[in-house]
Amino acid sequence: MYEFLTGPALWAAFIVFFGGLAVRIAYLYGLSMERDRVFYNHMDSKWALKSIGHWIIPLGSASMRQQPIFSIVVFIFHICLLVVPVFLFAHNMLWSESWGVSPWSMPDAVADVMTMLVLASGVFLILRRIARPEVRILTSAWDYTLLILTLLPFITGFLAYHQWGSYETLLILHILSAEVLLVVIPFSKLAHVVLFFFSRAFIGFEMGTRRGARAW
């Protein structure tokens, strides 16, 4: 099982993940050339970058400043979510064994704290979805599913690392859930991992180039 999940299944997951995102972007690009082309003529990289930048910096937009706690939690959530899997020592060990190279690794203690931050902020996001009427009304079961799916590799990874519970099962679940997540990303709202940059860039130059209005 372990060998299958870290072998063919992992390959498949990565191919679907990168391929899926690439296809989705290519498709949307083609569609935009056909149907939204008129908007390209006021494309402007300065406004596009500003629009992205202000929403990547913590509290960089008026909207985030309006809800600072939520914004900071979301920020921590995303940072830890991205950093932990990429810079985790154990993951990098596997990279380096397979390919001879790996990214820089952070100490496990740091990764441990960051994982707890992901989980804590994830729980916060779930509770917020339930508690705030304007969010609850927008939320469907799928939104919870995706959120839990995002947290699952972290929960299982965390437990496996500490070897709380059945290690073998947890590790299998860890790899499996991460692969499922990778596969789901390109085909769900989680595609915002890349589409964020496109939609932000668009509104940036749409409001900025001709009007100078801030989209943040």
Binding site: Y2, E3, T6, F89, A90, M93, S96, E97, P107, D108, A160, Y161, H162, Q163, Y167, E168, L171
Partner: protein, 132 residues
Amino acid sequence: MAFGQLALALLMVAFFFSPVFPQDDVMELQPEGVKNFERPLVKFSHGKHAQVINCSRCHHDYDKYGNNAIKGEEDVEGRHCAECHEVKPVKGQNRFGLIDAFHMQCRGCHERMRAEDKTAGPLACGECHVRK
């Protein structure tokens, strides 16, 4: 008298079944020079391994043609991995860093054996680095 015979017999049995190595059966692998272990040290059952594979499978001292100078038990004595494998791999030297060397040695072999459908030790991190 009977006691003497029994003792002798036991000694012989023990000799016969005991590892041919003068080392502990289960040893804790402690790579020298590595500070701050991220994971618990690996309990390595040397005896079990020695029963099924040749010493030179793990213990090695390659010359530049890739020939292993270690042929058997007698060549191993007193040598340590860290003598050649530095903690941080040295640029230009075709050698793994110490931790990689361990991982490649154990995990690499387990992987190959499994690929050949043979029984082999574990692959996942926590199966070797077991927390007490």
